[in-house]
């Protein structure tokens, strides 16, 4: 091959290099943003709870609807209880929770929500029937809500104040309905 046909060895033009790096960083930035969105939700007392929607179990309704949108509960004290039919400690507190709910069910300022964590419908409905639970209950489809709260296990109960901020987390079962009262009542004081 003659000398003249050998092209000079050239690297990648600088402007293309810049473009490549900018493109790569933009992509990584975008993914980082998406990831941050997906990861949000480590809730601490004082944090505002992000919105979520629950599709209630058959036979349960809230305000005449089978769906509950959390943001529509603003202005109320919301008690969110994570449970599962396979969870023995949950059974210990089931009756206490229901008793506490019955004390408040005529008070418009308090809502109880039960969220069933990694469970199957038949035993879950059996559990609800067995403990005659009347407050709105829903399965946690795709573990979305439990991820939102970053629950570590069941039972766990979250108390949200009327401003939508988390005020208290109970890990493990309640011993009595009075214990539940003692957490809700201070939140109702104006």
């Amino acid at each position: 091959m003659s000398e003249s046909t050998v092209a000079p060895r050239r690297g990648m033009p600088v402007w293309i290099q810049v473009l490549v790096w900018v493109g790569l960083l933009a992509l990584l930035g975008l993914v980082a943003f998406g990831l941050r969105r997906a990861q949000q939700g480590t809730v601490q007392p004082g944090d505002t709870i992000p919105d979520f929607t629950l599709t209630l179990f058959d036979g349960y309704q809230y305000a005449g609807k089978s769906e509950v949108k959390f943001s529509e509960l603003r202005g109320k004290v919301v008690v969110i209880n994570f449970w599962a039919s396979w969870c023995k400690p949950c059974e210990q507190e089931a009756a206490e929770l229901e008793t506490a709910w019955r004390d408040y069910q005529d008070d418009e300022r308090v809502v109880f929500l039960g969220i069933d964590y990694t469970d199957t419908p038949t035993p879950a409905l059996g559990y609800l029937t067995k403990f005659e639970i009347t407050y709105p209950n829903s399965p946690d489809l795709g573990s979305r809500v439990s991820q939102l709260f970053r629950i570590k296990g069941v039972p766990e109960t979250y108390f949200v104040d009327p401003d939508g901020k988390l005020s208290y987390v109970q890990v493990g079962p309640f011993a009595s309905a009075a214990e539940i009262h003692s957490i809700i009542d201070p939140l109702l004081k104006p």
């Binding site: 046909t5 290099q17 790569l24 998406g34 396979w86 023995k88 039972p155 766990e156």
Partner: protein
């Protein structure tokens, strides 16, 4: 305890792969072969070790050890043994372990090859493979431990953890009861082998990538790395293709919406590396033949690896929502860092070696083989851009407008449809084109225009004969009343590509049978044996055409109808009459509650063709599954689904009926496709590479080469 043993094995393998990385680095920089050998041996051990780890988890699954969270999550007592074993990949943490295990199998296999001629690649192949294994094992060890137990704290809370937390005790089997069991939708043969196939495809692409990076680092940028990895790439590609097809078959059989592909983000995430992988398989041939497109091949293999990791990340980090998504987990950030680091290193290396990857040849004509291959690559990239944009647009819209806007199947079909059509056409024409000249004499003798004319004529001369049957097909289709322009184009293109491919086989076999005085079929057999890659490739093309036929059939000619019927009523669809005969509800042996309808199918003339049994099963866990009744022939499928099962009675049973013409060709084509890939990938003795110099002086103009 078995679970702790399994976890220990994971930790040891993790440390071993870290050691392999360090030893390879030391060996490379200190030029000490003993260290490199030690690194090789440590990589060799990853597979046996992870086999032990995977077997431990399988043992826990088979023995129903529900104190282990993963076991609890994916199986239940009533599941059959084979499903308990395959539940290994039925959940996030187990499937990550399974991923590492398969990766280790490939890594170990690659250590066993003869390295004499490629010593300089070895440390870097070890590093890339071991980094990948270590990363996935790290995810298992630090975030998603499949061996984590359930514990009970003093306050009575049940929670999962790897090690015994203070003041907590191990949960007892009584406390935990029966496991949740595998989602019934996943209890399908297609679903049992679909994930392993995909994973195999994914992990196998790590090997060519490892060699490519080794070539970049060592500066040995000739086509050796491509020759070494050609078969790995084909195998990877075969598994990936199989995974995609099996996923489609599963959707068709189980999901009950009469389709096979829904443009779901996760489907696309698996499809994207397939696109770049396919482009890569084609463009490496140009580097081998003409020494061109070296940059491009590097970019393609880096992209393929990146898309494999990126796809796995998207589906497992909760960034995108999808029917396939695993429950969100904490692995997102580490995955993200891994992706960032590998992207940056690959791109930096590529830029560093850019000058050395200069093309040895030049593109001479738009109609030369290499130009058409390049066009094929551009079309694949076009489809990739369409897919990529569709996948990330929800993220972009969320960033800009705070609302997730997802694009649906119509977007993909409109944007990618024409590109697929063009690919189909190119698939037919490209095999007729000639490789470009390389000798200077030829170049000087002809002007550009003359050259273009010569290449175009070479194609045209060969094209007219096979074009005749395609034209006849077009006339036939038109005469039979088909007026849909896209369908006409698609089917004609399919016919053209088929006849060209058949013509190519026939032409070459006839030439050989004349020259060698052989029987035509003997000649065909020997020909294919001598140039397996080309004729395997043509066979794959035929498979793709058949698949295209099925896709055109179901996409463009699908008809559907819905009706609530009482027993004894009829419904017509596409010339068939279906009579609703009876309805039965009964429990099956394994505890499922089955609702089954019987319908008789009659053709136009009222002749009975058979019975269909669409059913609706409710599993003991309460999860439902719709199983369509399908009558399948080469011409069409009749696909009946029992909808809205809750209100089912003999008076009103709602049915949804689909008529899917030609869809079976999709699955048949897949078999031809696999067969072709096996022909192309069948091992033969490694031949010495012909130096680029010698190649460039060979007679270059061989139409149909």
């Amino acid at each position: 305890m078995f679970a702790d043993f399994g976890f220990g094995v994971l930790v040891i393998t993790f440390l071993l792969s870290l050691y392999g990385i360090s030893a390879a680095l030391i060996g490379h920089f200190k030029k000490k072969q003993a260290w490199v050998e030690s690194a090789r041996l440590s990589m060799l051990l990853t597979f046996p070790l992870l086999t032990l780890g995977a077997l431990t988890l399988i043992y826990l699954l088979v023995t129903n050890d529900f104190t282990v969270k993963f076991v609890y999550d994916v199986i239940s007592f009533d599941m059959p043994l084979y499903l308990k074993i395959t539940a290994l990949w039925g959940g996030q943490s187990g499937s990550l372990l399974f991923w590492s295990w398969l990766m280790a199998a490939f890594a170990t296999a690659v250590t066993l090859r003869k390295w004499d001629r490629d010593r300089e690649f070895l440390p870097w192949v070890v590093i890339v493979s071991c980094v990948t294994i270590a990363f996935f094992l790290g995810l298992n060890i630090f975030f998603e431990n499949p061996f984590a137990h359930f514990w009970v704290s003093v306050s009575g809370e049940i929670f999962p953890a790897t090690f015994q937390p203070a003041n907590a005790r191990l949960v007892t089997l009584d406390e935990i009861g029966n496991g949740t069991g595998l989602n019934p939708l996943l209890r399908h043969p297609g679903m049992i082998i679909h994930p392993p196939m995909l994973y195999l495809g994914f992990v196998a692409f790590v090997i060519p990538f490892a060699f490519a990076l080794a070539a970049l680092v060592t500066g040995r940028t000739d086509d050796r790395w491509i020759r070494l990895t050609r078969r790995w790439t084909l195998i990877a590609w075969l598994f990936l293709s199989l995974g995609l097809v099996l996923g489609g078959r599963w959707a068709y059989d189980v999901l009950g919406w009469g389709g096979y592909w829904g443009w779901d983000p996760v489907e696309i995430a698996a499809f994207m590396p397939w696109l770049t992988g396919t482009a890569f398989l084609h463009s490496v041939m140009i580097q081998e033949k003409r020494g061109m497109l070296k940059h491009w091949n590097m970019i393609l293999i880096i992209l393929t690896y990146a898309l494999v990791i990126f796809g796995t990340f998207l589906t497992r980090s909760g960034v995108l929502s999808s029917v396939h998504a695993f429950a969100q987990s904490a692995i997102g950030p580490s995955f993200f860092i891994f992706i960032g680091v590998t992207f940056v290193i690959s791109v930096a290396l590529l830029i560093y070696r850019w000058a050395e990857l200069k093309s040895e040849g030049q593109m001479q004509s738009m109609f030369s083989r290499e130009a058409l291959f390049l066009l094929n690559n551009l079309l694949f990239m076009g489809i990739l851009v369409v897919c990529f944009w569709g996948v990330i647009s929800p993220l972009i819209s969320e960033l800009l407008t705070n609302q997730k806007v997802t694009v649906g199947p119509p977007y993909y079909e409109r944007a990618a449809g024409p590109l697929f059509g063009a690919l189909l056409l190119l698939m037919g024409i490209a095999p007729l084109s000639a490789w470009g000249h390389t000798t200077l004499k030829n170049l000087a003798a002809q002007s550009n225009l003359q050259l273009e004319k010569r290449y175009a004529l070479a194609i045209a001369r060969l094209l007219w004969k096979p074009a005749v049957p395609a034209l006849l097909v077009l006339i036939g289709l038109f005469a039979s009343g088909i007026r849909d322009i896209y369908a006409l184009i698609g089917l004609t293109l399919a016919a053209l590509t088929t006849s060209i491919t058949a013509y190519e086989f026939w032409r070459a076999a006839r030439a050989r049978s004349r020259a060698q005085q052989e029987n035509f079929f003997v000649a065909l057999w020997r020909l294919a044996g001598r140039n397996r890659r080309r004729y395997g490739g043509y066979t794959i093309h035929l498979g793709v055409v058949l698949m295209a036929l099925g896709i055109i059939g179901i996409e463009m000619f699908q008809t559907q109808t819905q009706k609530s019927m009482a027993v004894g009523e009829n419904i017509q669809i596409s010339g068939y009459t279906l009579r609703y005969d009876s309805l039965a509800q009964f429990p099956s042996e394994d505890g499922r509650q089955v609702t089954r309808a019987v319908l008789s199918v009659f053709d136009k003339n009222g002749a009975l063709l058979g019975e269909l049994h669409p059913r609706y099963d409710v599993y003991p866990s309460g999860e439902p599954m719709t199983i369509p009744g399908v009558r399948s022939t080469l011409a069409d499928d009749l696909y009946v689904v029992l909808v809205n099962w809750e209100g089912v009675s003999e008076q009103t049973t709602p049915f949804k009926i689909y008529h899917n013409p030609l869809v079976n060709w999709l699955w048949l084509g897949a078999f031809v496709f696999i067969f072709g890939t096996l022909i192309a990938a069948w091992p033969d003795e490694e031949r010495e590479t012909i130096p680029a110099q010698a190649r460039s002086t060979q007679a270059a103009f061989q139409p149909g080469d």
